[in-house]
Symmetry: C2
Subunit: 174 residues, 2 copies
DNA sequence: CTACGTGCAAAGGATTTGCCAGGCT
DNA sequence: AGCCTGGCAAATCCTTTGCACGTAG
């Protein structure tokens, strides 16, 4: 778990107080850092879940209402191209974003509650490397998503997707 | 390329010829089998790949031009809900479909060519069961996608050393 | 100062749905 | 004959984009 960045520089200088992990990465990649990008970078750095664009937008305007959803889309796309963010799809029509610097992990989604559990597994890593090698491939990326339900609690919650996208975890319980 | 049906060349695909796997499943699930559903079932049964709705539609009208894309969407969604089809997302904005009765398999996508290789792996199955159990879950569904490139045949001459690090080669779906 | 970022709204692509006609059991 | 399906097009949902202006470097 990464705790808050305890950089001593806390001078209340408007906004550019302590550069977040994401912001630092942006600068490294030579991105022009504007107020809204800094804001979005901060939201992303503080996110511990996998927010979609709408959610990012909501969190951003909560801090500073001078961002448009279009900018969030643009920024998120830019960061993805720069390898700073990873776009995920848990099957809900909307893309979810995951800071790439958080390390490799996979997801276990509770189909009843929509909760997303992150996990890592060395054995799995070795296994897939082996599978790829078996076909003469070198892995560039991998995606593992497990959808399950709590072994004990099995209240059949019939959730109708309704007008929208298919079934999927819409909330990232947090 | 698809070849002409050499079985009953006389009967213009009336119905009741040879019920396809998918059609049989539909009947088992108590679905009303209409002409277009039978048609779509046939297309799906014959598909060896992972077509998207548009592709299914194309193949369907090639056999019988009396289907609308809306029906394909509806049918495909219905079959997914009945567990006859599995919806996949290889990242291209469109959903791809996979008959669930083909057995459990995963995908290895060649990021250079877009080729999709299917594979199964018992060890993997055991491993994920274990991971789920570790968190007290029973697996309902799982998704494993490997993206890689050929280890040998990859004389990629387009080395693009960008600012900072990261390949950034974003060759998304087809 | 110049190139690039941003806002707004309209465009766009994929998928869904209302309504009425028609087919399957 | 009834209920459900299928067509068509309008409606949604998510995401992208054109244009005019503000700002980082």
């Amino acid at each position: 778990m990464d705790h808050a960045t305890h950089t001593h520089a806390k001078a209340p200088q408007g906004k550019g107080a302590d550069p977040t992990r994401i912001e630092r990465l942006c600068i490294e990649r030579g991105l022009k850092m504007t107020g809204q990008r800094r804001l979005i970078a901060r939201v992303l750095s503080e996110a511990e879940d996998h927010p979609d664009v709408e959610e990012l937008y909501r969190r951003a305007i909560a801090l500073d209402s001078k961002v448009s959803i279009a900018t969030v889309y643009r920024t998120v796309r830019l960061l993805e191209e720069k390898g700073i963010l990873e776009r995920r799809d848990f099957g809900g029509g909307r893309s979810r974003y995951d800071p790439a610097d958080r390390g490799h992990h996979h997801h276990l989604i509770d189909v009843d509650t929509g909760t997303v559990i992150e996990f890592e597994d060395e054995e799995f890593e070795r296994l897939v490397e082996g599978i790829a090698a078996r076909y003469g491939f070198t892995l560039v990326q991998q995606r593992l998503e497990l959808f399950g339900k709590k072994a004990d609690a099995a209240p059949d919650a019939r959730r109708r997707p309704g007008p929208g996208a298919g079934p999927g975890a819409k909330k990232d319980g947090e």
